[in-house]
Assembly symmetry: C2
């Protein structure tokens, strides 16, 4: 199910360790779901989480793209961490530190208890500890929500964390080379305008923003 | 060419201003290219940049997915900024501050001077000022590179930067609500292990990492 051209060229970039996929999904929850829409390939971003060894995501029952997927459309979900800009002396050798997974298959619609548990997993993935701070979703809220699950059966993971590999003539020159690391940070939480007086920032949110406590 | 279900539901989230698309592409260069592969929908991340009012990206002539695209396959390129986690009192009302574009069409292969100019635009997008610090690509390097360009003819942009909108009963409760903003940061540049003594960090890279100069 993978692009043979790519795999043949860079076999060293392929990672076959499920632990590495788990680690990426522990760092990045933004997924881009590619699917075939009414007019061709299409893509939408959504928050994804691992739950029971499946990739889960959710949305409104009113969303056309989720209804399409719920009808049994194949998808490819791309999850990427950009960990740094690899700045070689030559532009041609420049690249990224990255980890990039694609998980493919036909998602299943979760129902009943499975649906609630998967929704909790998504909340906990984004805000660890949040489900203990909030009420449980109402029956009406659950009824308005589609939850999809994609087994980790068909996936590829590519990763690179190499230094620049310039030609000897470039290395002998005067141009700087190295890596500029990238990091996603949570900033200090902002109170909602309608927050009642005396309510402190939730512990789950304080923990996300180091230095803001 | 868009998902009518989504557009009907959330018309207020649609942004039709080309300036807003440009602003997103000035903030985010990670794109995910959705296309139809040999076995169904597929997706790959790549760096994208605006050049001459087209979205451009590049890769190796040996990459199977780029050869497929160069043959005239339709694509949907998704570019997403996650600007914050919207933490409502109820999980159901929680969401994100985000800006998310999808640009659709059939990419064109750039040749000759157009190819070199587009490659420069990609380098400058990632590292402003870098092309003035490095040598020009060799003919051999250019020959090994495919550059694709997608006109901004068919695109959608959705954005949200709202506060939580909880039900009155939840607002009256004791649960915190607000937003945890997200930020992507460049960290201090790291020298390549084979960097010759006495070469200072490139100005282009120093400028990316505030506080590291």
């Amino acid at each position: 199910m993978t692009d043979a051209g790519d795999l043949t060229r860079f076999p060293d970039l392929q990672v076959r360790d499920l632990g590495a996929l788990r680690a990426l999904l522990a760092d990045v929850y933004l997924g881009t779901v590619a699917y075939i829409g009414p007019h061709g390939p299409d893509a939408l971003p959504t928050a994804v989480a691992l739950h029971d060894d499946r990739l889960v995501w959710h949305g409104s029952t009113g969303a056309g793209w989720l209804r399409r997927l719920a009808d049994g459309s194949p998808v490819a979900v791309s999850v990427t961490a950009l960990d740094g800009v690899v700045v070689a002396r030559a532009s041609f050798e420049s690249s990224f530190w990255y980890r990039s997974a694609v998980i493919r298959g036909i998602p299943q619609v979760l129902e009943g208890d499975e649906r609630g548990a998967a929704l909790d997993a998504i909340v906990e993935r984004i805000l660890p500890g949040r489900t203990a701070e909030t009420r449980v979703p109402s029956a009406k809220e659950l009824a308005a929500t589609v939850v999809l699950a994609l087994p980790l059966d068909d996936w590829t993971l590519k990763a690179s964390r190499d230094w620049p590999e310039d030609q000897p003539a470039d290395v002998a020159g005067d141009v700087w080379a190295g890596v500029v690391p990238l990091e996603v940070r949570h900033l200090a939480p902002l109170d909602a305008p309608d927050l009642r007086a005396g309510i402190e920032v939730a512990a789950s949110c304080r923990r996300l923003s180091p230095g803001s406590e």
